[in-house]
């Protein structure tokens, strides 16, 4: 089973996770920039974070045979903090980088005017840079948030077929499908979807434009949830080809819209090496 996790925050994960993910079949990940749990107070803090997503994290991933790409943006939560909003001005310099395959995560958190502004501005940035957009749908007031998100996308220059709506569930899948966007589901213990509900949604909805991710981060989460969904789909009678479409070909097709997806890690910096600092656990 080859797996592409289209939404995972590897910065918060350990090398054990990389090892277990590779063993489970994960060969590619996309790491969206998001909130770090601890609020940031200056744009410079974002730039260091972006640098890590463009440098150190792909290096770590390559050590474990996993191709790493990222999406960059000012996230909805911190879009409300005027100390952070200058990040929007700097994004054009970062969105041109080779391993950036979308603008994201953008979207709504509390549905404020500042979030309206940041979402519209960043959809425009995606359109201007030939990038698709990864749009996070809010955790609170989810269905209303989804409708408002879709309205803003409709008014933007970015066509819905270049947008991935993420963190969908049973209550939002219908409206999201009608929008023409790609459909992302996060399998995340306690607060988002689980693998059995995911199978039920796919039975009902089909596998067209469906992406499944672990959204694993610093919270209680599990980077192997993509594999669990693959196993649950097979157990429910779906074919290996169906599973491959959901766990590999759909994310490749969506992020491939950027024209920047590179799935070979054969030219990774240095071959796995006994003396390597990561494999050895640093200095």
């Amino acid at each position: 089973m080859r797996i592409f996790d289209p939404h995972i925050h590897m910065t918060s994960r350990t090398t054990d996770d990389y090892e277990a993910m590779y063993a489970a079949g994960v060969r590619a990940v996309v790491e969206p920039s998001f909130w770090l749990g601890q609020p940031r107070t200056s744009p410079a803090s974002f730039f260091d974070y972006f640098d890590a997503l463009l440098g150190w994290e792909p290096f770590r991933a390559s050590q474990y045979g996993i191709a790493h790409h990222c999406t960059l943006a000012l996230n909805p939560k911190e879009a409300n903090d005027p100390r952070c909003t200058p990040v929007l001005d700097a994004l054009p310099r970062y969105l041109v980088k080779d391993s950036v395959v979308a603008v994201g995560e953008i979207g709504y958190d509390s549905m404020t005017p500042a979030e309206d502004t940041a979402l519209a501005a960043q959809l425009q940035l995606a359109a201007d840079h030939g990038l698709p957009a990864l749009v996070h749908t809010p955790h609170r007031d989810k269905l209303a948030g989804l409708h408002r998100t879709v309205d803003v996308i409709r008014e933007s220059d970015l066509p819905p077929e270049r947008v991935l709506l993420d963190h969908l569930n049973e209550t939002t899948v219908k409206a999201a499908t009608d929008s023409g966007c790609w459909l992302g589901f996060s399998i995340y213990p306690d607060t988002k979807m689980d693998e059995d509900r995911m199978v039920a949604v796919i039975k009902d909805h089909g596998i067209e434009k469906v992406l499944v991710n672990s959204a694993a981060d610093w919270g209680k989460s599990d980077p192997l949830k993509t594999r669990r969904v693959g196993d649950a789909l097979l157990a429910a009678g779906f074919t290996e080809d169906d599973v491959d479409q959901v766990l590999w070909r759909n994310p490749v097709a969506f992020y491939g819209l950027s024209g920047r997806l590179r799935l070979d890690v054969t030219d990774c910096p240095e071959p796995l090496h006994e003396g390597n600092s990561i494999l050895r656990g640093g200095e």
């Binding site: 730039f47 030219d267 240095e270 090496h273 640093g282 200095e283």
Partner: protein, 252 residues
């Protein structure tokens, strides 16, 4: 291969590097390279590219050639696969070094591109440093080399220990760079000027022996490269001569 593709000096060899690079690119990518180099040349001619142009411009607005510098990795891919040819990294390195050379990047430009660059872009800046000495004050880019040597990213460490480091790092920092290579698994072949600078360096020899003892005590193998460098330090033949590179000592 990497050395061949990025080896250039002011003047005609740039043409040779460009030819070597183009040989490995498909038609559309070759056209991209021509255009990118023409833009860099125009920027250099107009003197808008580097220091002069940067003043009136927002830090976040990229001149066209800097956009090309950023996107080189997705336009310089090997036209033919296969284990024998250069890697995608080699080609992107060569394209970016050529761009920096063509635009005659000075201190502010290299610093800006490094500071806001991806790891691949930072690597290219480091590789380009020896070729930009005509446009930069001596040792002015040392901070970039030191920054790279603080990382654990072997792509950056390997690019940092080239001829620029050989010329400008003081002996203390240089010894730590060598040790860092051994720690992170960067082959010491990457260290420019290794033999002349290691020769007769008793302090480096001590550090290597201590590291070997630590590895042995932990039941870990001692890297072959460590013995190689240790053998170089033991070359008493020329021990009394000053270092060829005339780098400042650590006391300076």
């Amino acid at each position: 291969m990497l050395t061949a593709l990025t080896e250039l000096t002011d003047g005609s060899p740039a043409r040779a590097v460009q030819a070597a690079l183009e040989e490995h690119l498909a038609g559309a990518d070759r056209a991209w390279l021509h255009e990118a180099l023409a833009e860099a040349q125009a920027a250099a001619d107009a003197e808008t590219a580097a220091e002069a142009g940067a003043a009136g411009r927002s830090l976040w607005t990229l001149p066209t050639w800097e956009l090309r510098f950023a996107e080189a990795g997705r336009h310089c891919r090997p036209a033919r696969g296969g284990p024998s040819g250069p890697s995608a990294q080699d080609l992107a390195d060569a394209a970016r070094v050529l761009l920096l050379h063509t635009v005659r990047a000075g201190h502010d430009t290299t610093s800006r591109l490094y500071t806001h660059g991806s790891a691949a872009e930072r690597r290219a800046v480091l590789l380009a440093l020896p070729h930009l000495s005509a446009h930069t004050p001596p040792a002015s880019a040392l901070a970039l080399v030191e920054d790279a040597l603080r990382t654990n990213d072997t792509r950056l460490v390997a690019a940092a220990v080239g001829p620029y480091a050989a010329e400008h790092l003081d002996q203390h920092a240089w010894r730590h760079a060598v040790l860092k290579c051994l720690f992170t698994g960067v082959p010491v072949d990457a260290v420019d000027g290794l033999a002349p600078r290691a020769r007769g360096d008793a302090e480096l020899a001590r550090m290597l022996r201590d590291y070997a003892a630590e590895r042995t005590a932990a039941g870990r193998p001692v890297p072959d490269d460590l013995h190689r460098v240790l053998a170089l330090t033991a070359d008493r033949d020329t021990a009394d001569r000053p270092h060829v590179t005339a780098a400042p000592s650590e006391e300076s």
